[in-house]
Symmetry: none
Subunit: 185 residues, 4 copies
DNA sequence: CATGAATGAGTGTTCATTCAT
DNA sequence: TATGAATGAACACTCATTCAT
C-alpha cells in the first residue's frame, strides 16, 4: 500500500507536475481515499520524501550495477559505466525528474536528503578506493564529493535543462573524460 | 521601486525562508502595499524570478570580474579565479541561497532560467575561446556546459549541502584541478 | 466589522447551534468571505470567545443597572433586582444561551472566562460592601463567590434545563429568599 | 465490556483531555478495536453520555451515603454531609471533571442529562421531606431544585474555576450556612 | 498612482463510522 | 463476535490576486 501511494505520487508528479500533486489527487490516482493516505504516511511531505528516496535508490542501484559490471576492468571503463548509468537512470523518466529536482526538493527534510547523499557518496568512495593505486588525487572523500556532484549536476542539466542542451551521448563523453583526467592526471 | 521590491523579497527569503515569503510579507518589508506590488510585477512568480535573475547577475558579474582580472595570465590562474569567484559569490549569503536553490527554483519560469544560464554559458565559452590554443577539448560549447554545471553544483553542495561537507578552500582546489586537467589533459 | 462577525456568530449559534457554527457558515451569515473573518480574528476560538465576552458583558451590564436602580433601597430590594436582572438577561435569548453554556464553553480559553468572572465578582463584592453593616457573613469575597455561582447556576438551570423546570418567577423568589437569609441570617 | 469502554474513556478524558478522546484512542486504551466499540455503543456520544452517567451516579451515590450516615441527626449535620460529599466526589478527579463539565456537556443528549438530574432531584426532595416539619420553605420541589444547583455550581466553580478560588473547606462552610438559613430561616 | 480590505478557491488533515474478513 | 483498514465529508485556515476608494 505504501508502494501504491508512492507509485501514484510518482505518476502525478511526472504527468501533472508538483502543483497538481495534492493529497486528494494522489489518493484518487492511487485509487484510495485521502484517509488511507494518512494511515501510511504522517503527512504530505513524508510521501514526497518517499518518492525522492525511491528515485535516489534507483540511481544508487544503477550505480552499483555499473560498478559491479565493470569490476576488474580499467578505470576508464568504470567511469564510463558510472556516467552512463546515471544518465540512463534519469533519461528513463525525465518528467518526473523535472518535478522532483526543480520543484519538490524543499519538501523532503534535509536529513532525508543528506542521508541519501551519504549513501551515494559512500558507494562512490568505496569504488574509488579500489583504483587507489593509479589515482593522483590524495583525498578520496573530497574526490568522491566532487565527482558525485559533477555527474549529478551535468546529468540533471542535460535532462531538465531549460533551453537547448548538448546531446546526452556527447555529455557522457566529456564528463567521463573529465573524471578520468581528474583522477589520473 | 522594482529594485525595492526585489531587495525586500531577497531579505525575506534570506532571513525568514520561502514559507514566509508571501506577497503581504514582501510588501510589508518593502514598506509598500500589496497593491503596489502588482503595479510593478504581474504576479508573485515574476518577483521571485527577478530575485533569481539578480542572484545570477551577481554570479555572472563575479565571473566577469575574475576573468578580467586574470586576463593575460596562465589558464591555471584563470580557472582558480573562476572557481574562487563563484564560491565567494555564494558564501556571501548562504541562507538566501538555500532558499533560492532548494525551494524556489520552480517559481521562475524555465524561460527565465534558460536565459540566465545562456548568459553565463556565453561568457564562459568566450573565456575558453581565449585559451583555445592550449585546450585539448574540441567542442567549446560542451566544455563550457560541463564546466559551468560542475562549478555551480559543487559550490551549491558545499554551501547548502545537508550534512558535513568538505572545506570550501579544499573544494576550490579540487575543482580547479579537475577543470585544468579536463581542459589541457 | 468585528461587531458584524460577533453578531453573525451569535445568530448562528442561537438559531442553528454550535455544530453549524463553522467559519464558512459564520462568514456567510455575516455577509462576508472567510478570508475577512481572519482579518479581524486570529482563529475561530477567538470569535467564539468574543461572543462569550459579549454575553457576559450583557449580564454584567444588567447587574450594574439593577444595582444602580436599587441603590439606597433595602437589601431585600437589591437582591430581588439582582436576581431578576440575571433571569431577564438570560430569558432574552435562551437558545443562544443553550449553545453558549452547554456547548461552547471549552472554546474560550480559561483566561478569558476567568477575566469575565472576575469582573462580575468584583461588581458583586462592591455591592455587598455597601450593605456590610447589616450582613452576618464575614468574608465578602467568599460570599460574593457563592452568590455569583448560585444565581448563575439556577438561572441557567431554569432557562436551559433539560426536562421540566420550575417557573422563572418562582425560582427568582426562592433564590432571592435564599440570598437574603444567607446574608442577613 | 461496556464497563471497560466507559473506564477507558474516563481515563482518556481525565489524562489527555477531550481533544484526545477520539474513538480510536478510546478503543486503544480499552485494549479493543474500534469496531468493537460500536458493538456496544451506537455512537461516540453514547459513550460520553455513559461516562457522564457514571460520574453522576457517583455523585448521587455519595449523596445517598451522606444522607444515610446522617439520618436521624439534625438538619444542620445532614446539610454539611450533603455539601461535603459533593465536594469530595469532585475533588477525587478534578481533571476528569474539567473535561466533563467544560467540554463534553454537549455530547450527551439533553434527555440523558435530564434523567440524571431528575434522579438527584428526587433524592434531594425525599431527604428534604424527612425534615419537612422544621422547614420554612413551602415548595419542596423548588427548594430541592435550588439547593441542587447551588451545590453543583459552587462545587464546580471551586474545582474547575479559572483563576484563584476560595478554599474548598471555606466554600463548604458558606454553602452549608446558606442552605441551612434558606431552609430554616 | 497607491492603498489595503475583501475575496474564495484551495489546502492538508482529522475522525466518527462502516463492513469485508 | 472481533477486527482494523478504509472511507470521505467536513473543517479551520492561507494567500495570490483584485478593485473601489
Amino acid at each position: 500500500m505504501v508502494e501504491t501511494i508512492v507509485e501514484a505520487t510518482w505518476q502525478v508528479l511526472a504527468k501533472e507536475g508538483y502543483a497538481a500533486a495534492n493529497t486528494n489527487r494522489i489518493a484518487e490516482r492511487a485509487g484510495i481515499s485521502v484517509g488511507s493516505l494518512y494511515q501510511y504516511f504522517p503527512n504530505k511531505n513524508a510521501i514526497v520524501a518517499a518518492v525522492q528516496r525511491r528515485h535516489h535508490a534507483e540511481v544508487a542501484s544503477a550505480m552499483a550495477t555499473a560498478f559491479a559490471e565493470t569490476a576488474g576492468q580499467p578505470l576508464e571503463i568504470g567511469i564510463r559505466g558510472l556516467v552512463h548509468a546515471n544518465m540512463q537512470a534519469h533519461l528513463a523518466d525525465p518528467d518526473l525528474h523535472r518535478a522532483l529536482t526543480a520543484i519538490v526538493p524543499a519538501a523532503a527534510n534535509p536529513e532525508t536528503l543528506g542521508c541519501i547523499r551519504d549513501g551515494i557518496h559512500a558507494q562512490l568512495r568505496a569504488w574509488l578506493w579500489r583504483y587507489r593505486q593509479q589515482l593522483i588525487v590524495k583525498d578520496l572523500d573530497t574526490a568522491a564529493f566532487v565527482v558525485q556532484h559533477l555527474v549529478e549536476a551535468v546529468v540533471h542539466a542535460t535532462i531538465d535543462g531549460p533551453g537547448p542542451t548538448p546531446e546526452p551521448k556527447q555529455v557522457e563523453d566529456e564528463v567521463a573524460a573529465m573524471i578520468l583526467r581528474y583522477l589520473t592526471g
